[in-house]
Symmetry: C2
Subunit: 222 residues, 2 copies
């Protein structure tokens, strides 16, 4: 009998195959790609709105916005000025997979893209298992969520390259300690690059924009 685990392995290995095809395309076209993950409500869409507003003049940005239902996020990103943006409605699935990205990617003129941003479904568990061909995962955590989250959802923090601690304007409104969340995250993944931001007050955002632009340009000049 085919077990649940066998099926899961098969699904993941099919996913990895497509993810590698995507990665080859992004390498060939020199497109820097990030997969943005977090709990629902950590501020992924807000961070991306600000990122588009800041970098839109200098970079050609394409985005896909994944959600279980609604295309609210894609609409918000379009309003923020995104010229190339597609919603992906998973219809129940708790994560995006490489096949969904492949279908969306086919609708973009990739010769005209420098930075490809994937906004994943709000979920700290499932998206960690699915490679989407990205250069890196960017995990957001907000200061209203609890500073032990990296320990409770270690896989996501282990597989991310960047952690953005968002809503730092709300520090002091709860027991959340900025040092503690960083200490916990670095226990799980000592290589994490960490940014502190507030999309509301704009604190810390420029450092993030500059770093991201640098990554895009580095890949372009490879």
């Amino acid at each position: 009998m085919t077990s649940k685990i066998d099926i899961k392995k098969k699904v993941l290995s099919e996913n990895d195959k497509i993810a590698q095809e995507l990665r080859n395309i992004f390498a060939d076209k020199k497109i820097f790609t990030i997969n943005v993950v977090s709990s629902p409500g950590s501020g992924k869409t807000s961070l991306l709105e600000k990122t588009i507003q800041s970098l839109n003049d200098r970079l050609k940005i394409a985005l896909v916005a994944g959600d279980v239902q609604t295309d609210n996020d894609a609409n918000r990103l379009a309003k923020a000025g995104a010229k190339m943006v597609r919603p992906i409605i998973t219809g129940g699935s708790c994560h995006l997979d490489a096949k969904m990205i492949q279908k969306s990617v086919e609708t973009f003129d990739l010769d005209n893209v420098d930075l490809f941003i994937i906004e994943n479904v709000g979920n700290l568990v499932c998206p960690s298992n699915y490679d989407l061909g990205e250069d890196m995962k960017v995990v957001l955590i907000s200061t209203t969520e609890g500073d032990d989250k990296p320990l409770k959802y270690p896989s996501m923090f282990r597989r991310s390259t960047v952690m953005v601690v968002n809503k730092i304007d709300l520090l002091g409104m709860s027991d959340f300690e900025l040092n503690k969340v960083k200490e916990n995250a670095l226990k799980i993944n000592g290589q994490l690059r960490i940014f502190d931001t507030s999309c509301r007050t704009s604190e810390g955002l420029v450092t993030w924009f500059d770093w991201l632009e640098e990554q895009v340009n580095t890949k372009k000049n490879l």
Copy 2:
């Protein structure tokens, strides 16, 4: 070939069978059971700490606290005064299932339990598919998460009986509108019983405690 969908159906139907066995036990023992679900960081553990502190003298409360990793939540609940509490570490799984609950339930003296509380893994998607034999799901949403969440994660709000809007002390600190989240939630599920709470200032908590105690007593007197 056995498809992914067939396997998923089989897993869910096995789960439903065990959930029904649990439901029969809870009916027989007259134990009122809630399955508490939300995003990571909405305040499930904080709400349950306060609930235990308030109702511990009048009700015999047993709890299980599910997490992908760590027994932090179970420890917090024990510190808050919970006499019967067990951690369930899912080790990667994005939800609790009925089998996990069954194993934990076997370790309690059920003749000595009035209220059984299940704190699910922090995830707004996967736990909605898994019946745990509970009388009702209680979904938390916090005012820092965005008022469109019921539309984006409709399954969870459709399958819940109660919605607790937590962190109302932080209203006004973001664009979140209390009326909007309620309107969105009621679009998905017009029967939702809604509570507004702040675990930090204790606003609204007594209404929740009283209502919960009433449900427990109603079941006890059936």
